[in-house]
């Protein structure tokens, strides 16, 4: 094991966390990301039985989840290191499948609501120019957040994840926390 100490994308030793009203933002530093690609038009692999979903979709399996990133391309997420290693082996042995390690390429911020779907929906309205059905639970898509290219995953009615290129972590955190803080209702005058 290396003795080098890793640093999070925000330059902080511990994952960042902030609460704005019903919304809590948490940096997910445990997430490992593995990009999988196949020749477009060939059947999708099923590494360890994980279902790789169709365009615009996200699907959760045992110990891992996956979302579509382009024709013949997916990203697999897991926060279990051993499972990640087994997944990598499974991808390497799947015919025609290519693996690219992306764990260090992204910052992932989990946004959860303790008041159901409404605060998440309100936040999404201020973040992305997508219709509610394009960001409904079970959907994931790459899109623009303000001027930043991001991946938006709706993990549940009250749960959203946003991935941005690691180098833009500060910008993502700023725009998410700023936007979330504006959703906190102000007492009417």
């Amino acid at each position: 094991m290396t003795d080098l100490i890793p640093m999070g994308p925000l330059g902080t030793p511990d994952p960042a966390r902030a609460t704005h009203g019903a919304l809590t933002l948490t940096e997910n530093t445990a997430l490992m990301l593995i990009a999988v690609a196949t020749r477009p038009g060939t059947p999708a692999p099923h590494p360890l039985g994980l279902h790789l979903p169709g365009p615009g979709l996200w699907s959760q399996g045992q110990g891992a989840a996956a979302f579509w990133t382009g024709p013949g391309q997916w990203m697999i997420e897991t926060d279990v290191p051993d499972h990640a290693e087994r997944l990598r082996d499974a991808i390497r042995s799947a015919p025609g499948a290519r693996l690219t390690e992306q764990s260090d390429g992204w910052i992932c911020v989990e946004v959860t609501s303790d008041a159901g779907a409404a605060p998440i929906r309100a936040l999404l309205e201020r973040l992305v120019n997508l219709s509610p059905d394009q960001v409904a639970p079970g959907h994931a898509t790459r899109t623009l957040l303000h001027h930043l290219g991001c991946i938006v995953i709706r993990r549940g009615e009250d749960h959203l994840a946003v991935l941005a290129p690691r180098s833009a972590a500060g910008s993502l955190w700023h725009l998410l926390s700023e936007t979330a803080s504006r959703q906190v209702p102000v007492a009417t005058v």
Binding site: L4, I5, M7, G11, E101, R126, A169, S171, V186
Partner: protein
């Protein structure tokens, strides 16, 4: 005071229990919650609120809505001061400060009022006629003088302290306007289950229903409005957006809207001030209502003259009338039945009425007041406010009627602007004497109610329902139609009267001070098309965009040309419908957050170690690391460059684009992307790669490392990372989709640090885990996947940008910071030195490596001395065109330049000439691309392209920079100032 008694206006939509204090021009006043600044000023008897644009004439409130041409005020003070706000749209809040504009000295005694005496010289087109010569005066004299004299409010010139937001909505139906038609449309669609957004520019929804004082189902219409709004507010599929102006229609059902979130509050507090909404709607209903027009007559611009329908609105909605004294009688001038409705409303509220002047000969009173049928208003008196009105009766007699207010009713213009945003041309309706939305308006936008000529309450309600049913049917939804409330009949007969003939000035456009005379002059000077007239007279060009003047003006022009109004047509309406602040269009991201910033993995380390940063695209890169005692950046840069040449330096090069290329056809694919051959590259080796554009010029360069069979990593320059990826995807998807290859960007995943200098191997040997880095085992252009620092997976590339023995070491990005620290620590005794982009540039210029300045889209491979890299044995992007005569024949070559005077400087961008020639385009032989001080050469050096440069080594040429009067002799030398044989990087 002109607030009506409680007994006369119990139903007014103001809260008399909530008095609010405000100031206007420093004087304190009181109003009530529910007031606008305009209604509150009226309640306090303030008639004079501003000075006109050009002639500085006294002006008063003219309307009750967003069409207001006169009552422009500066709201708030300090950094929040906002000029040109319409008093009619400003909701009163406690402590509001407002000030009048466009006067020198006091509002009552404006010194610029002398402009009015100079009116004969300020007629249509005077800018074009007067300020022609001399040309040198345009910017220095004429423009500042004109701007000072004729202007609107002044900017605070301070930074905007407020924040702004943006948002996106995707309803089935957007209803624009919440008057009778809009409410009925929203109700119909909402009950059918459609996702509905209802937006209205007013703080209070209801539109004209709030202003008419009429009955619906036998009760005040405001009650019906409240019921409908309650029902809509309770539905989960409806979003009510008051204070929201839909300002533009864009392609494919996209609408721009601004929500004024906290403009009605003293300060926004923690809220945003405004939100920009981008609304993508499957269908939209344009229920934008209508704007009343006036009838120009002599001296019709005095304070106290206003639109009749607005007068009615003030009385009914706010319980105010605009006289200076409550006892001053009110006169109405009309050419249609609607003027009589105002008379009825005022009578019902006990307002003293001087009568109705109706231009129609058969006109009759609709109540207990005098009607002067067949009469016209021909003049006014009153210096700062109306005192008397002159009328000419049907039999030609003139008389003066004392009055404090004159309401003018010239008919209603449907607000067709939004329907005209896609080249849609309004069509003239002869019967209604109005323009209606044309059939060629934006797809999916359905006009309804008064906006398409159905102006009476009963017609607007029915038409709103009809429009919603149309929209729902188009969206395959069925709707049961809600019942329409019972409404009274409203007479609406009208007879054309576009202006009262006369010799004195009669204003058409109050905001721009354009009179009937100006239009006549425009006609006389052959500026007859409406578009020419607009530009010649400036009619309809300011903040109100001619909402109260356009149609009247073109009717006057039609009269002059005899072409008729239908053929004359309107000018083109463009977004925005009403003014939009630039801050809200910016969407809220300002300063450092104006755009995303990308930080390298060692950013925080660099910050802690004294780095100065520079923006490179979105990236922030360390430019140099100043040490204590260094007072000039050159000291730091020279030291860093020397350290690389003599010991070892570290530079974060994560920003270079990295693209993972995999698949059985990867090598074939890369052969077509790069001008040189990649397919012969063996695993564990790196090759320099040159990309051309399809037109044959050089596009980008970088390295290509083969990590294994069918697996490559391509690097690009920092600035081109995104574009190269896009081009490679183009090649993969559009040119050769039959190749089995996939591309993934991994720029952010790896922290990559350049370790450069004669001691770089010694340093790396201390961190890699048991790998032989000797020259034999790991030669120049080798690469390997290995581990460092006790098992951390890494990639090592032996490549050099500086010309020294050098490597690039990549580790997972999260370890970049720690790796930098470790390399600094382990290399301390070797003299390890971090270096920034400036030293990087010095080193590469010394080595003659091309970078952005050389790869500027005008250079060929041959010019760079890389002509032989373009393989003739295979096809590649740009290969064919690079061989065409014009490109292959370009004889300019990359050379080095050194000033003849060792102390001399060479400026980048200077052009190159032979000695003794007359310098000009014909004798131009090239230019300097990059220049710097070289600590290695100990003088300035430069790279440049010089005609036949490869054959002119040793020649002295001139580097000319005529912009700064520079003409510097320089000697042509090889482009390699360091180690031309390349021994250092290979040993």
């Amino acid at each position: 005071m002109s607030r009506l008694d409680l007994s006369q206006s119990r139903d007014a939509l103001i809260d008399r229990n909530r008095p609010l204090s405000f100031t206007f021009d420093g004087r304190p006043y009181q109003g009530f919650a529910g007031d606008t600044l305009a209604s509150a000023l009226m309640a306090n008897g303030v008639q004079l609120v501003g000075r006109s644009f050009k002639y500085h004439r006294p002006r008063g409130i003219f309307s009750a809505g967003s069409e207001e041409p006169n009552a422009l005020v500066t709201l708030r003070s300090g950094a929040r001061a906002e000029p040109n706000t319409r008093a009619t749209m400003v909701e009163l809040f406690d402590g509001l400060e407002a000030g009048s504009q466009n006067h020198v000295g006091g509002l009552k005694h404006d010194l610029m009022a002398v402009n009015d005496l100079a009116a004969p010289f300020l007629s249509a087109g005077f800018y074009y006629k007067t300020f022609m010569w001399p040309r040198a005066f345009w910017e220095k004299l004429y423009e500042p003088a004109i701007r000072r004299a004729a202007g609107l409010g002044k900017l605070s010139m301070q930074a905007d302290p407020d924040s702004y937001d943006r948002g996106y909505l995707h309803p089935d139906l957007l209803v624009i306007g919440a008057g009778a038609a809009g409410l009925m449309a929203a109700l119909t669609a909402a009950r059918a289950g459609a996702e509905v957004v209802l937006a209205d520019e007013d703080a209070r929804m209801g539109g004209r229903l709030l202003a008419e004082g009429g009955l619906l189902d036998g009760a005040p219409a405001t009650q019906w409005v409240a019921q409908v709004l309650d029902e809509l507010a309770a539905l989960p599929n409806v979003r009510l957006m008051p204070r929201t102006t839909v300002f533009g229609v864009y392609d494919h059902g996209i609408y721009g809207a601004v929500e004024r979130v906290s403009d009605h509050l003293p300060t926004p507090g923690t809220r945003v001030r405004q939100t920009l909404w981008r609304i993508t709607a499957k269908r939209a209903i344009m229920a934008t209502g209508a704007t009343e027009r006036h009838i120009p007559f002599a001296d019709n611009d005095r304070p106290g003259v206003l639109l009749s329908g607005s007068l009615r609105a003030y009385a009914n909605r706010w319980g105010v009338t605009p006289q200076a004294r409550a006892t001053d009688p009110v006169l109405i001038f009309t050419n249609n039945d609607d003027g009589h409705r105002t008379a009825q409303s005022l009578l019902a509220r006990g307002v003293p009425l001087a009568g109705v002047v109706d231009s129609r000969s058969g006109a009759r009173s609709l109540g207990e007041y005098t009607t002067h049928a067949g009469a016209m208003v021909t003049g006014t008196k009153g210096r700062h406010g109306l005192r008397r009105v002159q009328i000419r009766t049907a039999d030609g007699r003139d008389s003066w009627i004392p009055c404090g207010v004159l309401g003018v009713a010239g008919g209603w213009n449907p607000n067709v602007q939004l329907a005209s945003h896609h080249r849609g041309r309004p069509v003239w309706d002869r019967e209604r004497l109005t323009f209606l939305p044309g059939p060629d308006g934006p797809a999916g936008l359905i006009p309804a109610g008064a906006a398409c000529g159905h102006g009476s309450t009963i017609a607007a309600l029915a038409d709103g329902r009809r429009a919603a049913q149309t929209a729902l049917a188009q969206l395959d939804r069925t709707a049961t139609a809600p019942a329409l409330p019972q409404a009274e009949e409203e007479p609406s007969a009208i007879a054309a009267l576009w202006h009262v003939p006369g010799k004195r000035r009669a204003w058409v456009d109050l905001q721009n001070d354009v009179t009937v005379k100006d239009i006549k002059l425009s006609h006389q000077e052959n500026m007859r098309s409406v578009e020419h007239m607009k530009r010649w007279t400036t009619l309809g060009m300011a903040t109100d965009q001619g909402k109260t003047s356009n149609v009247t003006a073109l009717a006057v022009m039609a009269e002059l040309t005899g072409n008729g109004i239908a053929r004359t047509g309107t000018t083109v309406f463009r977004p925005p419908y009403t003014p939009v602040a630039l801050s809200v269009l910016g969407g809220g991201d300002t300063g450092a957050n104006f755009r995303p910033r990308r930080l390298t993995p060692t950013h925080h380390w660099a910050e802690a170690n004294g780095a100065t940063f520079v923006e490179v695209g979105q990236w922030m890169r360390a430019q140099w690391y100043a040490q204590s005692g260094e007072t000039h950046w050159r000291q730091s840069v020279d030291r860093e460059a020397r350290a690389v040449r003599s010991a070892v330096g570290l530079c974060d090069v994560t920003t270079l684009g990295k693209i993972d290329v995999q698949g059985p056809d990867a090598a074939t694919f890369l052969d077509r992307i790069y001008a040189n051959t990649i397919s012969t590259l063996k695993p564990g080796r790196v090759r320099y790669g040159l990309m051309l554009r399809e037109d044959g010029f050089v596009y980008d360069d970088g390295t290509c490392a083969c990590l294994g069979d069918g697996h490559y990593v391509v690097t690009t320059t920092t600035g081109n990372a995104g574009l190269v990826f896009q081009r490679m995807e183009f090649a993969r998807q559009c040119l050769w989709p039959e190749l089995d290859v996939t591309l993934i960007s991994t720029t952010d995943a790896w922290a990559q640090i350049a370790v450069a200098g004669p001691k770089s191997r010694a340093l790396l040997e201390r961190v890699v885990d048991g790998v032989d880095l000797s020259n034999d085992a790991f030669p120049f252009m080798a690469c390997a996947a290995l581990t460092v620092c006790g098992g951390l997976p890494a990639r090592l590339f032996r490549i050099s940008f500086s010309g020294e023995l050098a490597y690039e070491l990549a580790v997972p990005a999260r370890y970049g910071h720690a790796l930098m620290e470790r390399l600094m620590e382990r290399g301390a005794d070797l003299g390890v030195t971090p270096y920034g982009t400036e030293a990087l540039a010095v080193l590469r210029i010394e080595k003659g490596h091309a970078a952005g300045a050389e790869l500027n889209g005008q250079t060929t491979a041959a010019m760079l001395g890389l002509g032989r890299m373009v393989s003739a044995k295979k096809d590649a992007i740009g290969a064919v065109m690079s061989r065409r005569e014009g490109l292959a024949g370009d004889s300019r070559r990359l050379v080095g330049l050194q000033p003849v005077d060792p102390a001399g400087k060479l400026p980048a961008g200077a052009h190159l000439f032979a000695e003794g020639v007359a310098q000009g385009l014909a004798t131009d032989e090239g230019w300097i691309t990059s220049a710097c001080y070289s600590p290695h050469v100990e003088s300035y050096i430069a790279l440049g392209f010089l005609d036949r440069g490869d054959q002119r080594l040793g020649e002295v040429i001139r580097c000319a920079n005529p912009l700064e009067g520079q003409d510097i002799p320089a000697r042509v030398v090889p482009a390699h100032f360091v180690d031309p044989e390349g021994g250092r990087l290979r040993d």
